[in-house]
Symmetry: C2
Subunit: 328 residues, 2 copies
């Protein structure tokens, strides 16, 4: 691979200065004489020249890369959000680098350092884990955006997500209205704001009188499967299960299917997120619809049209709705 041509090569070939070539490629072509412009165009074409983002970024002290950290690469809702963000950023001329923190604080911190090294325009954290390094970065930079999990106490940064408490509350209320019995909550890890808010809302929505069995697990199909197996092996009861997200619900579903159970006669199941897959592979799953594809525009606006920092963090709270299907 021979080295790619530079402004200099184009300048030489077209007989102008590098300044003119640069103007041509950075949207200042209007200030160039038509003849000059033509010859620059031809030279660039002949050489196959594309300006180096690296040179440009260095010169402008500003890169066009945005880093997104996801907590779990296998979560489909997370993937939907990432796709939405990538699309929205592209319209502003930005690239997105996706990295998987895998719910591991060490890995997350490593990736944060990488993002810093790339001088990322913004760092978007889906499901951040509270670590000293994250706190320090939030203090030094103001380009962190928290998605789906609120920043830890004392960390000042914008948050984009839904009102998890209210959503959980609506589900609890629905369970109460339908008079579902043997209620079970399988929530995600309690240290994540989304998990505990969903759970608390659910409990409050159900009301005090109802007793609820509570399990806590990872936000994964594996986690839901394990809890499901334990729960369903014990008794032949018709449980009414609220899961912390759809992935957990898929896992419970698998455990139920293995025991030949049918919905909603043998088991009531409620998910959370309504990732795009449901429509195709889990059209039976009642769940809370979170508008994954509205996250992109919301986040991109935060990145590209930052408000007055004096006003403090600009949170964006998106709407949700209950999506009722066969399983509940």
């Amino acid at each position: 691979m021979t080295k790619p041509p530079t402004v200099r090569d184009v300048a030489r070939l077209s007989g102008v200065s590098t300044a003119t070539v640069s103007r041509y490629f950075s949207g200042k072509a209007g200030a160039i004489a038509p003849d000059t412009l033509e010859s620059v165009r031809n030279a660039a074409e002949a050489l196959g020249y594309t300006p180096s983002e690296i040179g440009r970024s260095l010169r402008l002290s500003r890169s066009r890369v945005v880093v997104m950290l996801v907590p779990d690469a296998t979560n489909h809702f997370t993937a939907d959000v990432a796709a939405s963000v990538e699309k929205a950023l592209k319209e502003y001329g930005l690239s997105m680098v996706l990295a998987n923190a895998a719910e591991d604080p060490k890995q997350q911190d490593r990736l944060l350092t990488d993002a810093l090294g790339l001088r990322a325009r913004a760092i978007i954290l889906q499901g951040a884990i509270d670590t000293p390094q994250l706190r320090e970065m939030a203090g030094r930079q103001n380009n962190l955006i928290f998605v789906n999990r609120r920043p830890a106490e004392g960390v000042l940064a914008p948050y984009v997500g839904i009102d998890n408490y209210a959503a959980g509350h609506d589900v609890g209320r629905y369970f109460r209205d339908r008079e579902y019995e043997n209620c079970v909550a399988i929530s995600g890890p309690r240290e994540f704001s989304g998990s505990s808010e969903r759970l608390q809302g659910f409990l409050d929505g159900l009301g005090r009188k109802t007793t609820v069995r509570h399990f806590e697990t990872a936000f994964t199909m594996e986690g839901g499967y394990e809890v499901g197996r334990e729960l369903l092996s014990q008794e032949r009861t018709r449980f009414s299960v609220f899961c912390g997200n759809d992935m957990i619900a898929y896992g419970v579903h698998r455990a139920a299917v293995e025991r030949q159970m049918r919905f909603p006669d043998d088991l009531v199941l409620f998910g959370f997120d309504d990732n795009r897959l449901n429509e195709w592979l889990a059209p039976w799953l009642s769940t809370v619809r979170v508008p994954a594809f509205d996250f992109g525009p919301a986040i991109a606006s935060l990145v590209c049209e930052p408000g007055d920092p004096a006003e403090g963090a600009a949170n964006i709270i998106l709407p949700f709705e209950l999506k009722l299907r066969d399983s509940a």
Copy 2:
């Protein structure tokens, strides 16, 4: 956001030259006196310094970014491969930028230009579309890697994937051995090498005597759903369907479920890829297992340990196997 500290700031604070600071951060710490090293470490720590990848890339004329283009962000097999590649590249200290070409030649060409601008270390194309720009880039650069779809005639670049003809052939043979009747092939677009190889293999494996109805559609659930509806609405026949990938199979499955059909009594269904979701949401689907998670190491080795270019393109052909479950 104040500007991040530079080598210079660290050098000033620790009373050494920028050269020494740079040595500390680029793995040449062994050649630094212990005292000096200590003071550099402290200064960097105090300032929260992380070296700029941009400065480094410019100086070394070599970036650590690899771009991966995917043909369809909603394809789960593609996503599995992307995750595998990202992980493998990370171990070599490289970042991956994921971009969605959405099976659109214009969009692909735009993204190729972006990748060029980033001076990507390598450009990985899952499911490339043959365009003049792609050909020209393949000619100028030697850092293109084709995955799952072979490069077009005359384009010299490495290919990583399975032997699609052989896999299709095995499925055809299996259909013949089981004496499946009313055979149907729903293949992906014919212009993609993978599609036509899978189809041809299938036909050859079935043997001349069998007639096969053939549909061609996009590699998506939507595509499979539409064909499925058309096919299943016509007659009450037990079809034996080989799909070009799992996504198509999911779509056919949905159409069948809507008509209350059951597998394999009412319909025989065979997919292709065995993406990770099958285990959880489609454990009934017989398919061809393609080892998505072996792609990462294979591709990373191509990127980071390039062989002698004189030897020509270094193709890597991965193994596959038939995964037989309930649907066939």
